[in-house]
């Protein structure tokens, strides 16, 4: 019966929406605590809950380490971002609307993480995708509206593709809804392509990334944090859960996925370096980082025999990137609102360099796990590319830090930073240092990353990047390299909207005065007539009834 706690973590966020009706606003801050129970369950996972009353075969729970770790970091990130949002939206008249969408999105995100059957996953995924629209366009104005439009168009398209893939997948698994069964059933190329595009839109790897650089700068910082930290990973998780493991056909796809991931990783950096707005640069950094997750996925699909290292690598990478990127987005938001003290800048560099794989951070452990896996496979030439990746990532995070400083110098607000920001953003920024000592999966995998020779391996690309940055920034100065996909998609998105609007009528049609219905109306107004008719009918009915009874 303890399994019912799983139901609790889904229902609780929805129930806490009732607090929005509290006119006194006294209890409303409790809303931000909604992810807390999920964090608890990630720590102490209970038995799987059979939710057959939803649909036969619905199962909620966590069965593997990947789900457990991702549930843990997701809940932690939502909690931190929630605290940040509480402070950030204190004076926002539209805060209740933001909170409502926040809770819906959170529910969806948690549901897809604890889903053990395909339908639950899809339900959670949809709820999250659609509700996130409300977060993205929250600030209003042309930028967010344009970003939101593109986002929702792509989200719906992705939704429908996943729906088709879902149907095909149930069919391929001979009617089973369980994700664990799907891991064993072969997949057709059509289903796999539908999944790749459908989930790829959410994950945002190249070339499906087009909504990310628009949506992230448009959304409030807390929303960007969960969007980039937690939600885009749902796309990768979806692929991982829906695709079969050790499938011979899919193994042929592996090189392509790896290539796509690497293109994404480097393309994101190249475009990110050219940005002048912090949050856009951060969005491109997410595109680059999601590329690495796709590389892991590709490697896992290519491994026919022993897939065991890959879930751990996914777990490590997800937790590390989710928390670090969340902290950076919140930090970017801070840098644009309040003059940051020096201590804050020290704190800010932690998640930034952790992304580049700074030794002793969670990032280093995640990257080492990926490299170890690559050593054991037969694609050792990837190692060089991954080291190059560390270098380029460092370049991008330096660029991001520079942009943040520039933005912060223009700020005239010298107020002290509120305590809620220190507790949310500050603590999340510390996580890269804390992970290797506190988070179980990092503790298990840290030995290789902490070896002396590994430290140098991790450090050298970063040092090199600091030397190179001067040259690169001069090369890049003033150059623009428009994202070709972005322009095109913007154009299509707008056409789609305009083309669909029905032509406005020249003038509003004059309201026609209500005229009484002449023949029928007058006749019926005469009470006598209607009484006669109705009585006659009633009598006839009565007669019929009597006739039948007798």
């Amino acid at each position: 019966m303890t399994g019912f706690f799983w139901l609790g973590i889904i229902v609780l966020p929805l129930l806490s929406a009732l607090l929005l009706l509290d006119a006194g606003k006294r209890w409303r801050p409790l809303i931000w605590l909604a992810p807390l129970p999920a964090l608890g369950l990630a720590w102490f996972p209970l038995e799987v809950l059979r939710v057959d009353f939803l649909w036969p075969g619905a199962r909620w729970g966590v069965e593997d380490d990947l789900a457990r770790n991702w549930l843990g970091f997701t809940a932690l990130l939502w909690l931190g971002a929630g605290l940040y949002a509480w402070q950030n939206h204190k004076d926002d008249p539209h805060a209740p609307r933001f909170q409502a969408f926040w809770l819906l999105t959170l529910t969806g995100n948690l549901l897809l993480l604890i889903a053990l059957d395909g339908i639950s996953f899809y339900v959670g995924f949809t709820l999250m995708s659609i509700s996130a629209y409300g977060l993205i366009i929250h600030k209003g104005g042309p930028g967010p509206i344009q970003a939101g439009r593109l986002y929702v168009q792509l989200a719906i398209l992705g939704e429908m593709l996943i729906y088709a893939a879902l149907m095909l997948r149930i069919q391929e698994a001979e009617g089973s809804l369980l994700l664990s069964d799907w891991q064993q059933s072969p997949i057709s190329p059509l289903t796999a392509s539908l999944l790749l595009v459908g989930f790829g839109i959410k994950a945002g790897f190249f070339p499906l990334h087009i909504w990310l650089p628009l949506a992230h700068p448009a959304a409030p910082p807390a929303a960007s944090a969960v969007l980039s930290g937690a939600m885009i990973k749902a796309g990768i998780l979806g692929l991982w859960r829906f695709l079969p493991e050790a499938d011979a056909n899919l193994a042929n796809w592996s090189p392509w996925l790896i290539a796509l991931g690497l293109v994404s990783a480097f393309y994101g950096v190249a475009l990110g370096l050219l940005q002048t707005r912090v949050k856009t640069a951060l969005a491109y950094s997410s595109i680059s980082q999601i590329g690495y997750l796709l590389v892991i996925l590709g490697l896992a699909l290519g491994t026919v025999h022993d897939v065991s290292p890959w879930p751990a690598a996914l777990a490590l990478f997800g937790v590390h990137h989710g928390l670090a990127k969340g902290a950076l987005f919140m930090g970017a938001g801070l840098a644009m609102t309040v003059k940051l003290p020096r201590s804050a800048w020290v704190l800010m560099t932690l998640p930034a360099l952790a992304l580049a794989g700074l030794p002793l951070t969670g990032g280093a452990i995640a990257k080492t796990a990926l490299k170890t896996g690559v050593y054991d496979s037969d694609l050792t030439m990837l190692i060089t590319l991954l080291s190059l990746g560390s270098l380029t990532t460092t370049l991008l995070v330096i660029r991001i830090m520079v942009l943040m400083r520039q933005a912060n110098e223009a700020i005239a607000n010298h107020n002290r930073m509120p305590r809620a920001y220190w507790c949310s953003w500050g603590l999340l920024s510390l996580t890269p240092l804390l992970l290797p000592w506190l988070w179980p999966v990092f503790i298990d995998n840290r030995s290789k990353a902490l070896a002396a020779d590994a430290l140098w391996d991790q450090m050298s690309p970063i040092l090199l990047a600091f030397i190179l940055y001067g040259i690169v920034s001069r090369l890049m100065a003033g150059k623009t390299l428009p994202d070709p996909g972005l322009g095109l998609s913007r154009w299509i998105s707008l056409r789609l909207k305009k083309g669909l609007q029905p032509a406005k009528p020249a003038t509003s049609p004059p309201a026609e005065p209500a005229r009484a219905l002449p023949p029928l109306g007058t006749r019926w107004q005469k009470q006598t007539d209607s009484v006669t008719l109705a009585s006659a009918l009633l009598a006839a009915l009565l007669l019929l009834l009597i006739g039948w009874l007798v």
Partner: protein, 504 residues
């Protein structure tokens, strides 16, 4: 017990007929009595229906047979399929009655309206309980006659024109249906509907006759089910008052057509005969085309109600599509959509009516920021619209799930493409409304705010009699989706209906 079992179906029909007839005799100012009669009728009907549901699920049969014409008795009986439709009708009748009382406050001709309203429900129920084609035809034609006065209730020129077109379409349809039934009657008489049909014996000698009769029947039923190209009356009929549109689109008329198609395919011809005669492919293609066509037409409408009307054209064809696929899973998807579409569409029409009555908002352009003024109504609208798109966990998703699986089961994967396309089109014509409602810039003050119910956003944003039924149906649309796996859900009942048809 035996007597009661015979009387039950008749009592259900009478429970709305008698209040209706009495209401005709009331004066305009006898409001309390009229309301009491309405509510008493619907309560009695709900109790009776609940009893029959319980009985049928336990294996009892309820049947009344009276001699009518040679070889064809008047049969009223309750089986699983008819009860699905009857339950939907009476539950939505309750909601719509409340809504209509609130909606028509202050307008004239209440007795006429509510009288016909009750008659309309009683003919719908009779049609659902009809046990053979002749009885079905009788109620089918009566339905046309009882809905017409409701449609033209406003008495405007536009309403009269729409009414004329409605009559032209439905009477022609009725004639075609009559022809089809006559052909079958001369062949096989009009025995009771039975699982797997009663026409198999004629399969070898009368192929052509059977095919012709089928075409006539479908053409006749297709008018009410708004199958392309017979849908023309439906978008015009939206001039009717909102509760009538709601009833028309969710239960009474379009559903009567769809229900008839189900009856003809399952219980007159039977699955195997339909298969042998290859009757279904044209219907399948027609349904698929109508789904897309209705959605594309909906995109081009400016008025909220017109957009909803074309959406009905598209959505009701889901039911036909499910039946035409001739597989058990698809049939479940189609039949359950009878209920799901009803709940969602009634919600949407209720909302459109509330917008029109409270703020005189009729066009999509005027919906900007309406969510700020009427958050609860807009929330209900959002639920209905997202459900229409087939997004989980709302009812529409369950339909799409079963239809998709059913199509794959029958080896027709192209149907998935139709469903995906329809989902995207639904998104294209519903999302702008949701966007405007929640995020559009609201006017300083609403130009034609009637201040119904107090005019305060929240529980008092409009008259409670308008708001309560809307919230009820919106909640129901979510619950039947979320609790689809429970034994009391429409889905579970649909399993109960469909399994015998396929020998499961």
């Amino acid at each position: 017990m035996n007597f009661l079992q015979q009387a039950m179906p008749l009592l259900v029909v009478l429970s709305s007929l008698i209040p209706g007839l009495i209401i005709f005799t009331l004066r305009e100012d006898q409001r309390a009595l009229r309301t009491f009669l309405n509510l008493a009728g619907v309560s009695v009907q709900l109790v009776l229906v609940a009893l029959m549901l319980l009985g049928v699920s336990r294996g009892f049969s309820f049947k009344l047979q009276l001699p009518f014409i040679p070889n064809a008795d008047l049969i009223l009986r309750a089986d699983a399929l008819s009860l699905q439709f009857v339950t939907l009708s009476s539950v939505l009748w309750l909601a719509t009655t409340l809504y209509a009382i609130g909606y028509l406050k202050g307008s004239a001709q209440h007795s006429r309206f509510f009288g016909y309203f009750s008659l309309c429900v009683s003919t719908t129920v009779g049609l659902a309980l009809a046990g053979n084609l002749i009885t079905f035809l009788l109620f089918y034609e009566l339905l046309t006659l009882t809905t017409f006065p409701l449609l033209v209730h406003r008495g405007t020129r536009e309403a009269l024109k729409a009414g004329k077109i409605y009559l032209a379409y439905t009477l022609t349809g009725g004639t075609l249906l009559l022809l089809g039934i006559v052909v079958l009657h001369s062949l096989a008489g009009s025995p009771e509907f039975m699982t797997n049909g009663y026409l198999q014996a004629f399969q070898d000698d009368h192929r052509l006759t059977l095919t012709l009769a089928f075409a006539l029947l479908i053409a006749g039923l297709g008018v009410k089910a708004a199958l392309f190209p017979l849908h023309g009356w439906l978008p015009r009929a939206m001039v009717a008052p909102a509760p009538v549109s709601a009833l028309l689109h969710a239960v009474a008329v379009v559903k009567a057509g769809a229900f008839g198609i189900i009856r003809v395919v399952h219980d007159v011809y039977g699955i195997s005969l339909a298969h042998t005669l290859n009757l279904m492919s044209p219907l399948l293609w027609l349904a698929a085309f109508t789904i897309i066509f209705g959605s594309v037409m909906a995109l081009r409408q400016n008025e909220i109600k017109k957009r909803l009307a074309y959406s009905t054209v598209s959505q009701v064809s889901y039911i036909t599509l499910g039946v035409a696929l001739l597989g058990p899973i698809a049939a479940i998807g189609g039949l359950v959509h009878l209920v799901h579409q009803g709940l969602m569409k009634v919600t949407l029409f209720f909302c459109a009516g509330i917008f029109a009555e409270t703020l005189h908002v009729h066009r999509i352009q005027d919906m900007n920021g309406i969510g700020r003024r009427m958050p609860l109504t807009m929330a209900a609208f959002t639920v209905g619209a997202l459900g229409m798109m087939g997004l989980p966990p709302i009812a529409g998703f369950v339909t799409k799930w079963y239809l998709g699986m059913g199509a794959l089961e029958m080896g027709q994967p192209w149907v998935l493409l139709i469903l995906v396309g329809s989902g995207i089109l639904n998104a294209l014509y519903f999302l702008p409304l949701i966007y405007r409602g929640w995020f559009g810039l609201a006017p300083e003050r609403w130009p034609e705010d009637t201040g119904l119910g107090g005019g305060i956003p929240g529980w008092r944003e409009t008259h409670w009699m308008l708001l309560a039924p809307t919230l009820f149906t919106a909640l129901a649309s979510i619950l039947v989706g979320v609790l689809a796996g429970t034994p009391i859900s429409p889905l579970a009942w649909t399993h109960f209906i469909v399994n015998p048809e396929f020998g499961l």
